[in-house]
């Protein structure tokens, strides 16, 4: 028995990336857009989906990631779009290999867009490429304006940043200039969106963003 030192120089996420690439190829061939919604528990991801699905003419499906329960999936089912639940059994994010084995169960020939509602968490879901076209960072007014600086990876990777529950601005101390100022410095290219699902504000702009992404994907 001998001990030896081995130089490795190997990226750790290689396996994950190969699944992600497989998903990207598949969805490109079908012309389907995949959008990965990432935010804290309670930030409003499911509500945003409820307000989006079936209302803008896009044919959608949802992959629901949750640590446990199918409560969110039931809410999505009620909108009438196909949805599939992945329970991570304690895992804090979705991984590409799970998504890969899930998308085949969706009616891919009848879809424009697949939403992935990731596990509620600002850290791990940002680390893992699941073959999506766009990550969307969702944070809400009650969480406070410091989320972008505290969780920089998500906010620098996101193609769009959505601030939800803006109807609470009169009741909760929240510095909008600070929040959007930080987002602007960290990720000047991201689309920025104030939203109140309760009041229906920001939803049209959200729809426009989704449509422009779909168009880019199909033309690109």
């Amino acid at each position: 028995m001998t001990t030896k030192k081995v130089e490795v120089q190997q990226a750790v996420m290689a396996a994950d990336l190969s699944y992600a690439q497989k998903i990207k190829d598949r969805l490109k061939e079908k012309g389907i857009l995949m959008v990965n919604l990432i935010g804290s528990p309670g930030s409003g991801k499911t509500t945003l989906l409820e307000k989006t699905l079936g209302k803008d003419g896009l044919r959608a499906a949802v992959i629901e990631g949750d640590v446990a329960t199918d409560r969110d999936a039931k809410r999505i089912e009620a909108t009438g779009v196909p949805s599939i639940q992945i329970n991570t059994d304690g895992g804090c994010h979705l991984e590409a290999n799970w998504v890969d084995s899930t998308i085949d169960k969706l009616p891919l020939d009848e879809l424009d867009i697949i939403f992935v509602e990731n596990v509620g968490n600002l850290v791990c879901p940002a680390e893992f490429d699941i073959g999506e076209d766009h990550k969307v960072a969702i944070s809400s007014v009650p969480e406070g304006p410091d989320k972008p600086l505290k969780y920089p990876l998500l906010f620098t990777e996101a193609s769009a940043v959505v601030l939800t529950k803006t109807d609470l601005l009169p009741y909760v101390p929240f510095d909008l200039d600070l929040y959007w100022g930080d987002v602007g410095k960290m990720n000047p290219k991201a689309k920025r969106l104030d939203m109140s699902c309760a009041k229906g504000e920001g939803l049209e702009e959200w729809s426009r963003i989704l449509r422009s992404w779909l168009e880019e994907k199909r033309n690109g």
Partner: protein, 112 residues
Amino acid sequence: MSLVSAILESLEKMVDENGWSSVKSVTLRVGAMRQVIPDVMKFAFEVSVKGTPMEGAELAIISVPIKFSCRGCGAHWGEEELGYLCPSCGGMEVDMEQGMELELESLEVQER
């Protein structure tokens, strides 16, 4: 924890392919953007390797600071100014040069 699982998966594959009997130490390069707290990662590693060829292995973490550069004016900056907006010229054509690393750098292994 999820990063630790990914690391273990890579290590197990290497152990399998090379026929090593055990791993004594692991050196990892981790970018600051990865949001890793070294002590937490070491603890998660220690707990997760029980019953694997990596049991008892020491995990060393080399932290790689975040560094951006601007394609427009060539400026470099890092941790103190986080982001994709050049603090010198305001340009948006910016690259992250380092900070996203998650790489196995070297191992000490026991051969059969």
